[in-house]
Amino acid sequence: MSGGQRNDGAAVMEERIAAYLRDQLEAPDLALSGVERIAVGWSHETWLFDATFTRHGATRTEGYCLRRDPGNALLREMSDLGTQFRVLQCLEPTAVPAPRGYFFEDDPAVLDAPFLVMERVPGVCPSPWGRDGRRFYEEAAARGELPRSFTDALVTLHTLDWEGAGLGFLGVPEAGTGFALGEVAKWKRLIESTGVEPDPILVDLIGWLEANAPATERRSLVHGAYRTGNFLCHEDRVSALLDWETEVIGDPMYDVAYVLSDLNREGTELLSNLVERDEFISRYEAGTGIEIDMEACNYYQVLYGMRSAAFWMSASGLYADGRNTDLRLARTAWSIPVVLDRAARDLGY
């Protein structure tokens, strides 16, 4: 770990990662440096490091990112690293900015749990909720390049020939209300898996969502959580989209609604604390040729309320059950009323 006293667990993990990469890269002299478990991400452990090794007589150093599924983290039931690795492989030859996936390992003998190793893409990913992160995005917004890149990356994602890229394995919703109802059913399953009696507002929310699902034939690769904090920025450009945990084939308005919502504005007028609303809409529509469907977006914003409640019920349950000791999960027990308060307002009360 960087910047402090190492613990034995981290040292052991470092050696096991190094041993794995020596085998995979056929590099017996490989050594790791700068190993750091970063405190971002809720669903998997994330480790960053450099690997130095000899290849064809020359010493080279490459940056890697390893994500490990501890089996007790958020969205464990909804997304697995094998799927994420396959998505990254499908995206590699496309224009979508994403890290290259190098290895996926599901043998628990290696690191006790499945993991994937991917490219460490240059860039930073400031938390949008901290003071430093807010300042980072505000300053980037003022310079103007990152907001354009933010929109352009979404355009690239939504105009991707996902069938040609081989992403049909994610499942293709039926035209009509198939996508919306599929998402409601997905998050309902997560709520049910917690074994917690849902709050009456959540029951009301689900009833409304099931009764008002929008019909659409639009289908794109949808990221599912497109916001600051889920991509890397390098030289004021989006260098890689991260957190491929909620990706789905479906209505691109699902992502657009997330961008347009005030969930991630951090008290500013800027979408995701980064881009002006009118600029985003005009650039997105020009880039994709898709007219933004505000009615569908309004629906999906209500759906995000249900999804957030499901996230936090699952997260706080993991801590309450003793399956995870991360106190960020414990704290989310008090996020549930906050999202339900908002959901009730969305429903008019």
Partner: protein, 137 residues
């Protein structure tokens, strides 16, 4: 010292004394989160008696309202069962059951009864979430 006061003091110690002294990012975040959890728990415990009393009164009032709102027309079995649970004092699970039954049976209920009963239930739910927001926000 009352439990809520003790938790509030622990929260403050974590936030102002322990957290800043932690160097590594991950444990530092954990110390801060522990402080937040204790702060919210303290407020929740402090408010719990008043909230429980208000909730019981609200739910009893809803149970009393229901027969008039549902009227004399036949009531779908699921709605009737949920109303009985509410009248029996089963609390918020009964309210959840009622709301779920309303949505599931809205066609059988007809829009007027559906809107009337759901609207009244929403008044209760609004008051309930307002109370929760006193410690969660």
């Amino acid at each position: 010292m009352a439990p809520d006061e003790l938790l509030a003091r622990l929260s403050s110690t974590l936030r102002h004394d322990i957290g800043p002294a932690v160097v590594e990012p991950f444990p530092k975040t954990q110390a801060f989160m522990a402080s937040v959890v204790l702060e919210k728990l303290s407020a929740q415990i402090r408010l719990a008696p008043a909230h429980a009393e208000a909730e019981a009164a609200d739910l009893a009032a809803r149970a009393a309202d229901l027969p008039a709102l549902l009227g004399t027309a036949p009531v779908p079995a699921a709605v009737a069962a949920a109303a009985d649970r509410l009248a029996a004092g089963e609390g918020s699970p009964a309210l959840s059951a009622l709301v779920g039954a309303l949505w599931a049976e809205r066609e059988a209920l007809g829009s007027e009864r559906f809107e009337a009963v759901l609207g009244r239930a929403r008044t209760t739910m609004r008051a309930r979430i307002d109370r929760q927001m006193e410690y969660a926000a």
